[in-house]
Structures are given as structure tokens and as C-alpha cells.
């Protein structure tokens, strides 16, 4: 069972999970009827799910996870225009760290993937940046001092 929590998702992330759940449910139904499912060729689904094709228990496990997430989801809302200079969930943030620029999207834990520039709002950097605005210099000093200078904040629909 999943940990008890709210899952923050972007609109795109929510859409992706809903599509995945629908595809897996259709797949399960076809398998139960003994039909040969072709739906896993869908572009919405990771092609590697093909490894689930003959193992219904894996599909069921993933479906249970998805259902739980979708029941506890909180959609990330874009803030009103006047608050879009402040970092919150869903913000794209351009920062300067030790003379180098980097760009992060602040997302919920489920969509986080720092290798792709998506930082969790529950990570120390994510937590620290939330609530700050352009021009702020945020200092982390434990155990090694680092300064994050916030250069730009945008939201995808802004």
C-alpha cells in the first residue's frame, strides 16, 4: 500500500496517469475475456509495459497504485498573474548556482526527476525555493554553503 499523502500533479502528469489507468483497465478486461490485447501499442503508454503483457498480476499491482494516486491527487493550479513572480508548485525557475545557470520545474514527488530538471517540492532545494521570488538569494549552509540566486520564474500558461 502506498504511503498516506496528497499527490500533487501537473495537468499533463494527471492526464498521463489517467490515460495509463484507462489503458491498463481495458487491457485487463480484454485479457479476462481471453482476447489478445493490442492496446498496449498505444503511444500514451510506455512501450516497456509490453513486459506486463502476459503477467496480469503486474498490471493489477500498477492499477492499484494508480487508483490510489488518482484518489488522492491534488492538481497543481497556476497562481493568479500577480503571484506568478513567486515560486510555487508548477513554476519553472531559472537559478544561478556558483556562477552557473540551471533551470528547474518545481513538481510533486511523483513527477520529480532531477535528471530531467524536475525537482520535488519535498526535496531540500524544492522546499527552500518555494515562496521566494525573482531577485532573492537563498542560502543553504548545511553542511556546505551554497547560494541560489533566483533569476526568473515562469508558469507554463503565463
Amino acid at each position: 500500500m502506498l504511503e498516506e499523502k496528497k499527490y500533487y500533479l501537473t495537468e499533463k502528469g494527471l492526464e498521463r496517469l489517467k490515460n495509463e489507468a484507462k489503458t491498463l483497465r481495458d487491457f485487463k478486461l480484454m485479457k479476462t475475456k481471453g482476447e489478445v490485447p493490442k492496446i498496449l501499442q498505444s503511444e500514451d503508454l510506455n512501450p516497456e509495459y509490453l513486459s506486463f503483457q502476459e503477467d496480469l498480476s503486474l498490471v493489477e499491482t500498477r492499477l492499484a497504485d494508480l487508483d490510489y494516486i488518482l484518489k488522492n491527487v491534488e492538481l497543481i493550479k497556476i497562481p493568479p498573474k500577480r503571484e506568478q513572480n513567486i515560486i510555487g508548485l508548477g513554476a519553472m525557475v531559472l537559478v544561478e548556482i556558483e556562477g552557473k545557470e540551471d533551470e528547474f520545474e518545481i513538481v510533486g514527488s511523483l513527477e520529480a526527476n532531477p535528471a530531467l530538471g524536475r525537482i520535488s517540492n519535498e526535496s531540500p532545494v524544492g522546499k527552500m525555493l518555494v515562496g521566494h521570488k525573482v531577485g532573492d538569494a537563498v542560502v543553504v549552509s548545511s553542511p556546505l554553503k551554497t547560494i541560489y540566486r533566483i533569476k526568473k520564474v515562469t508558469y507554463l500558461s503565463s
Binding site: E48, R62, L110, A115, L116, I119, P143
Partner: protein, 211 residues
């Protein structure tokens, strides 16, 4: 059983493949990929049990298979695309955490994933179908962080790297710790593992816990 034996022999190669991150950091006699897998499994198990609510058997199997692909794909580091040949420049580079535009990050991640997926397919191709599917599904789960176990072990695995970095730093004053902390503060978001980093800090920097 012949194919299973062939698989075991291939897996054994991980016992003599040094971890590339330590090689480029010029660590003397660095650990092998097999060494990393062993402690990552132990850490995943115990820290996972500490967190609670996880299927430990699944987590342990995931830990055992998560780097099997490296037998053929090799061990990739975030520095690979920018590595200078000059040793002095290399030492300078290792003091920083490499930063790339988002499109470059995506390209690197996709390339790595495809290479590793192909390598794993090659390795497990002749195993019995049930085991083959289980290994592939566990790896996909870990890579894509599909389940609570996949999400947790994805981070616990990196915690093993972090601990190893500290152990080498204590012994050789290398690798530089700054890039590790820059990365760690962006990477970890699991509360149990974030708490664990504070114990690393206490152990290696002598800082007292607040609680």
C-alpha cells in the same frame, strides 16, 4: 539450466567492473559494481523497513537487478559528456556539479535509458520467460519509479553512492563533497532518506542533530 549458468557467469562480471564515477575521480582501488549492488540492497532493505509500508521482498529483488544492465551498457556518470582529457581540468570539473539545459538533460537521460534497456534485454534474453519478465519489470519499475518500492529504491540506491563518496573522502580527501551535496539536496525527497543525510552530516562533519 545451461542458459541460467551462462547468465550467472555474465552476472559475475560485475564483481570485477570498477565503478566509473570513482575511476574518473582517480580513487585508488575503487569498489566494483557488485560491491555497490550488495550494500545498496542492504541499505534499501533496512531503510525501507524503517520507512515502512513497502514490499521488502520486491525491493530486495529490485536492488539485485537494478544495475545488471551495466554488464554491457557500462556505468554512466553525469560527467561523461563533458570529460576533459587533461587531468588538471578533470580535477577542476570534479569540484562542480555539471549543469545542462533541460533539453540536453532529457537527451542524455533518454540515451542512457535506451542503452541500458537494450543491454538488459541482451543479458536476460535466454532466461526462462517468467524470470525474464520479472527482471525486466523490476528494472522498469526502478527506472520509471512506478511503484512505492521503485520510487524509494531509486533514491536508496543513490544514498549508497553518497555514503561511499563520504567514505572515500574520509580516506583520501577525495572526491570533493560539494557537488555531492549540490546534487543530494535536489535529488532526495523521501523523508526517511533526508533524515538519513542528516546522520551522514553528523557522522562525517561532527555536527550535532537538533532532535
Amino acid at each position: 539450466m545451461k542458459n541460467v549458468l551462462d547468465f550467472f557467469i555474465e552476472v559475475g562480471k560485475l564483481k570485477t567492473m570498477p565503478r566509473r564515477g570513482w575511476v574518473i575521480n582517480q580513487i585508488k582501488d575503487p569498489e566494483d559494481i557488485g560491491d555497490h549492488i550488495f550494500r545498496a540492497a542492504i541499505m534499501g532493505w533496512i531503510l525501507g523497513a524503517e520507512k515502512g509500508g513497502l514490499n521488502i521482498e520486491k525491493l530486495l529483488k529490485m536492488a539485485l537487478v537494478h544495475d545488471l544492465c551495466e554488464i554491457y551498457a557500462g556505468d554512466v556518470t553525469p560527467y561523461d559528456s563533458v570529460l576533459p582529457k587533461n587531468k588538471k581540468k578533470l580535477r577542476q570539473l570534479m569540484k562542480t556539479w555539471p549543469r545542462f539545459p533541460v533539453f540536453v538533460k532529457k537527451g542524455l537521460a533518454l540515451k542512457k535509458h535506451k542503452k541500458e534497456s537494450k543491454a538488459l534485454e541482451k543479458l536476460i534474453a535466454k532466461l526462462p520467460p517468467k524470470i525474464r519478465k520479472e527482471i525486466k519489470s523490476l528494472w522498469v519499475d526502478y527506472e520509471k519509479r512506478l511503484s512505492p518500492e521503485g520510487r524509494f529504491f531509486h533514491q536508496a540506491d543513490r544514498m549508497e553512492n553518497f555514503l561511499q563518496a563520504y567514505e572515500y573522502w574520509q580516506k583520501y580527501k577525495n572526491p570533493p563533497l560539494k557537488p555531492w551535496w549540490l546534487w543530494a539536496r535536489e535529488f532526495f525527497d523521501d523523508p526517511t532518506l533526508i533524515e538519513f543525510t542528516s546522520y551522514l552530516e553528523e557522522r562525517f562533519h561532527g555536527k550535532k542533530q537538533k532532535k
